[in-house]
Subunit: 222 residues, 2 copies
DNA sequence: TCCAATTATCATGTATACGATAGGGCAGGA
DNA sequence: TCCTGCCCTATCGTATACATGATAATTGGA
């Protein structure tokens, strides 16, 4: 007998929340775009009530901004905002990695390696669609053994806020290739239990997204 | 003519959200207590709709947990959870303070000093009601000049999650007195621009709340 | 022609009404 | 006695309907 999954009896509110979150993260809705409740409720075939509740939740997550009597706008981050969030992530993730490395098992490392291999395949076949997911999985694999669920959740939330922006330039093959190299090096440092170096390097790795974004923006404006 | 305050045309949802947040933070609602929508809507004299939206927001803030068809429960943190959040705060705040100190002006320091003086008065007169507010104001004064609004907001959010727990033992005069001493030392380190020491010490200062909580819990169980 | 004030319109805010789910108690049978 | 299944009730979830605020259009006047 197979293990029974808890039947997911989703409420409309949570379903709408998930869908909207995904659509915002994917970039389907542009910065500053207004999300009209009635349009969304029509689209989903539900009333405005679940839509409104979903919007409230997404607001608290920082993905949208609700202005009274005006509506919900997709959050628009300035370059400085993005840098600030990346800085926070770099602090949290480097400390998390440092706490994780001493407790990493062979399984943990193997899992990270497997993800890395998948990444390489995707890179060679040009399949960049799942890059974001693979990237998250790799980082997650490194942090697992720290057993700090709240920190992980916070990091994911921060990641969600900046992802749309940092992804703008990631599509260039060279950028992806470099990220892959950095990941490889990161994993090697973990294997060798070089905690300090790994913590320092992941900080560099995360902040590099900010540098790439800066270069991208300058190129755009030029 | 008096300066017109921007009329705060609060919507019911935001008013209820603020009120509930305050009540949860104050400890009026106990851990794990169920918040019934109808009871709340009756109490506030509004319908359940604004109450539900407020609850959604508070859930995303981590103050409550909504279980489908069951209701909203005030979040219950384990000791480990509290420690984890304190650890995160210690990382963020020490980095923030380090970034802030080099840019602190005399005004910034004077503001912090003023708050410290207020604290001392409150301590001597035994007026502990505003301790939390004074504490927040002091820390905020130290971080101001870093000009990192997103980091500040995040720290406040983290603070909100743990405040109920760390406050359990702060009411002992000795604990408050020691916190005051630590604040004084912190400010002195800022004045002397001893960045590294200050960053290290504020980390100690924040984590001390965890140690105090641990002692309190052991005493309780004994 | 331009400005101001008023009205019209639309999206959002809120209340009420209805439907669905979960949990507990009760009755019937093993 | 214990289990099982049904029903019943409290509470939540969702839809619909109405109220209110914000913005655009329009009208009147200077």
């Amino acid at each position: 007998m197979t293990i029974m999954q808890p039947i997911k009896r989703q409420t409309l509110t949570s379903a709408v929340t998930e869908s909207l979150r995904k659509r915002i993260l994917s970039g389907e809705f542009a910065d500053g775009q207004q999300l009209r409740q009635e349009a969304l409720s029509n689209e989903y075939g539900v009333s405005r009530v679940p839509v409104r509740e979903a919007l409230r939740q997404l607001e608290a997550e920082g993905l949208i901004q609700i202005i009274d009597h005006k509506g919900a706008l997709v959050s628009k981050l300035s370059f400085e905002d993005v840098l600030e969030f990346l800085e926070i992530r770099s602090q949290l993730e480097s400390a998390l990695l440092a706490a994780s490395i001493p407790r990493q098992t062979e399984d943990d490392l193997a899992l990270a390696q497997a993800t890395l291999d998948e990444f390489e395949e995707a890179l060679q076949s040009g399949d960049v669609r799942h890059w974001g997911e693979l990237n998250s999985r790799f980082h997650l694999a490194l942090y697992r053994s720290a057993e700090r669920p709240n920190t992980l959740a916070l990091i994911e939330s921060l990641h969600n806020k900046t992802d749309r922006y940092t992804r703008m330039q990631i599509l260039f093959t060279e950028t992806m290739a470099r990220a892959h190299e950095e990941h490889s090096r990161l994993l090697r440092l973990c294997r060798e239990r070089r905690v300090e170096e790994a913590a320092e390097f992941i900080r560099f790795h995360i902040l590099s997204a900010g540098r790439a974004l800066e270069a991208y923006l300058q190129e755009q404006s030029a």
